[in-house]
């Protein structure tokens, strides 16, 4: 009786664990893996005649043979990388200031101030920028009012505007991990650095940066992925020449009814962006599990 009891006792634990894991497994399978597999399946079909489809690679070949598509992808990837670097450069001093310079209430207050704009939806924030930057908008009118310029100036619809919007909308995802990691850096290390004759730069480079490196890399990954997959900001702020890869995907699905091509682009976006992240990890000599923990 007793042996059977112990043998049985093991199964409920496993079952319990399985039940606990159930939501996350279901979520992963139903909402992440299954749609991706379906996409892959659709992307491998090519249209031969109305209502008739065959398996083939033509959708993927189209990406590499039509310069427009891979140029758009390249442009999106490069702009995303630049946006990520700019975000890092702007966010690092802010995080350092919040984590190391401030104490008590001011610290919490500033952190919340960084957070507050994100309580509003991305669409509303982007329209906010449009109101500020358009030709008949706030900034243009103000510049004319104080007499700096004669006629109205159009700030919208340029690559610089897209960059501004992208950096702004992803700032939080860099500030949060950086602040919490910098917060955990013991001040005595920095003091020791100065005691041992280091100057501002060498302390920063040899003590602060190595400590913050996992947060820098994880922040960069998140910002890069968000920027690459952003749809609203490039469309609304970029205007007639915006060209963003997600827009290509949207166009294929919605205005060209070409789900096969759209799915192929989706699969390519996922695999190429994963490749870029992998390269980034290799170059910075970080491991994915360490960065994400």
């Amino acid at each position: 009786m007793k042996t059977i009891g112990t043998a049985n006792a093991r199964t409920p634990i496993k079952l319990g664990l399985l039940l606990l894991l159930c939501p996350i497994l279901l979520w992963l399978f139903l909402l992440v893996i299954l749609p991706q597999l379906t996409m892959l399946n659709i992307s491998l079909q090519e249209r031969v005649a109305p209502r008739i489809y065959e398996y083939g690679f033509s959708n993927f070949i189209a990406f590499f043979t039509e310069p427009l598509y891979w140029n758009t992808f390249l442009r999106t990837a490069i702009m995303s990388i630049i946006a990520t670097i700019l975000t890092l450069i702007i966010a690092f001093p802010i995080s350092y200031y919040i984590a190391k310079m401030l104490r008590g209430r001011a610290k919490g207050l500033l952190f919340v101030l960084c957070l507050i704009p994100f309580w509003v939806s991305e669409l509303v924030r982007t329209y906010g920028w449009m109101i500020l930057l358009r030709e008949s908008g706030v900034i243009s009118t103000f510049l004319q009012y104080i007499g700096l310029v004669d006629g109205p100036i159009e700030f919208l619809y340029t690559d610089a505007t897209i960059m501004l919007g992208l950096v702004y909308s992803s700032m939080l995802f860099m500030v949060v991990p950086l602040t919490s990691t910098l917060d955990s850096l013991d001040d005595s290390y920095i003091e020791a650095g100065y005691d041992l004759g280091g100057n501002g730069f060498s302390v920063f480079w040899h003590i602060v940066v190595p400590h913050a490196k996992p947060a820098i890399v994880s922040g960069c990954i998140v910002v890069f992925m968000l920027t690459l997959g952003n749809y609203l900001t490039p469309i609304l702020l970029g205007g007639k020449s915006s060209l963003w890869f997600t827009e290509q995907i949207f166009t294929q699905f919605i205005t060209r009814f070409n789900w096969q091509q759209g799915s192929a682009f989706g699969v390519l976006l996922l695999s190429i962006s994963s490749l870029i992240v992998w390269l980034g990890l290799k170059l910075s000599r970080q491991s994915f599990s360490k960065v994400m923990s």
Binding site: P50, R51, E66, L68, N71, T72, R134, E135, S136, E154, L156, Y157, G239, K240, S241, L243, Q248, T251, F253, I254, T255, R256, F257, N258, W259
Partner: protein, 356 residues
């Protein structure tokens, strides 16, 4: 405290009853354009038939995308343009043939009904009946761009950064006509059509410096025109007439090469769950008085016979000012799009968008 709690309970109970009732009541899920099913008409329909109308606003591409995703389900009645019914059905199998015995054809302008039945024909069956028609042409601010008479005038150096149009197929076709080409004649010859489209592509790329932004929603276009950020646009007639209410200098102009005429139709999705309500709605909104109310809300005229007499005088006056008899005869009506042409257009549109 207790009484108020009681009251709120009763209120909740009532609301539940009402919601339960409305769940039991019939509904018609209508996928249509903004303004085509104004609330007042929906309420009148509900009072007369007891059927609730759930309105979803959309556009041609979105309608096809939605229906192709569900293989013709999710809606009971949709309103694509007549030229895009047969090709979309051929490609995705999303519609049901129209049962003309359930439609009161005396309510329709006969020529429009016949034209739509013919253009929406697939394998011998018709899939659409007409509802609202209108045109695309030019919206011009006469104080600042009086010289814009045709689509190609939008590319004049004078209007650098001052014009707006959509980056969609009507623009390609309009510019082709304006350049003296005839895309409709080439509809059945993909090679010839592609040649025409490549010429239009070059024209639109060279014209890009003039474009302030490619508009996508009617409101964005109206904002650009209203704020004087643009002085001329290619857009729908109704948009021009609405802008005219705010600024007398702006109005719709029928281009010399001809306005492009469209008819938005009714079509029944293959998996429609309430066909009888769909037919009831069609017969209801085609009554002259109801049709006139829809004209007031949408800004465009309907295919309902005799409805024009009920339309308000100012809209009729604007319509007359934009279209003299010659301009009406010059309207180019869209023939049904053969399947496959949209692939060619798609690539052309992508290249224009990508060009510097």
């Amino acid at each position: 405290m207790n009484i108020s709690r009681c009251r709120s309970l009763i209120a909740v109970g009532f609301t539940l009853c009402i919601t339960a009732q409305s769940v039991n009541a019939e509904t018609l899920r209508l996928l249509t354009w903004g303004g085509y099913a104004p609330k007042i008409v929906v309420d009148m329909f509900k009072a007369e038939t007891g059927i609730d109308v759930e309105v979803t606003k959309s556009n041609n591409e979105d309608m096809i995308a939605k229906l192709s995703a569900t293989r013709g389900g999710g809606f009971d009645l949709v309103q694509p343009s007549q030229d895009r019914i047969a090709s979309a059905h051929a490609e995705f199998n999303i519609y049901k043939p129209i049962d003309m015995s359930q439609i009161d054809n005396k309510l329709f302008v006969a020529s429009m009904l016949d034209a739509t039945l013919k253009s929406s024909m697939y394998e011998g069956k018709s899939y659409g009946v007409p509802h609202i028609w209108g045109t695309s042409g030019l919206i011009v601010n006469s104080e600042q761009a009086a010289n814009v008479k045709d689509y190609t005038d939008l590319c004049n150096d004078t209007y650098r950064g001052k014009v707006t149009y959509r980056l969609k197929r009507p623009t390609l076709i309009a510019f082709a006509f304006s350049m003296g080409l005839d895309p409709f004649a080439a509809y059945d010859d993909p090679a010839e059509y592609e040649k025409i489209m490549l010429q239009v592509q070059d024209k639109l790329i060279s014209c890009k410096a003039n474009v302030k932004a490619y508009w996508s929603g009617g409101d964005a276009m109206k904002n650009l025109m209203r704020s004087n950020e643009t002085v001329a646009a290619m857009a729908w007639d109704a948009g021009g007439w609405q802008l005219n209410d705010d600024n007398k200098a702006i109005s719709f102009v029928a281009p010399t090469s001809g306005a492009l005429g469209w008819i938005d139709a009714f079509a029944i999705p293959r998996k429609s769950k309430n066909e009888s309500a769909a037919y009831k709605w069609i017969n209801f909104v085609m009554q002259p008085k109801v049709a006139a109310m829809i004209t007031d809300s949408a800004g465009n005229f309907t295919a309902s016979k005799g409805a024009d007499d009920f339309v308000n005088a100012s809209l009729r006056a604007k319509y007359k000012a934009s279209f003299d008899t010659a301009a009406i005869d010059n309207i180019k009506w869209y023939p049904p799009v053969p399947a496959g042409l949209e692939m060619i257009e798609g690539k052309v549109l992508d290249r224009i968008k990508a060009a510097k």
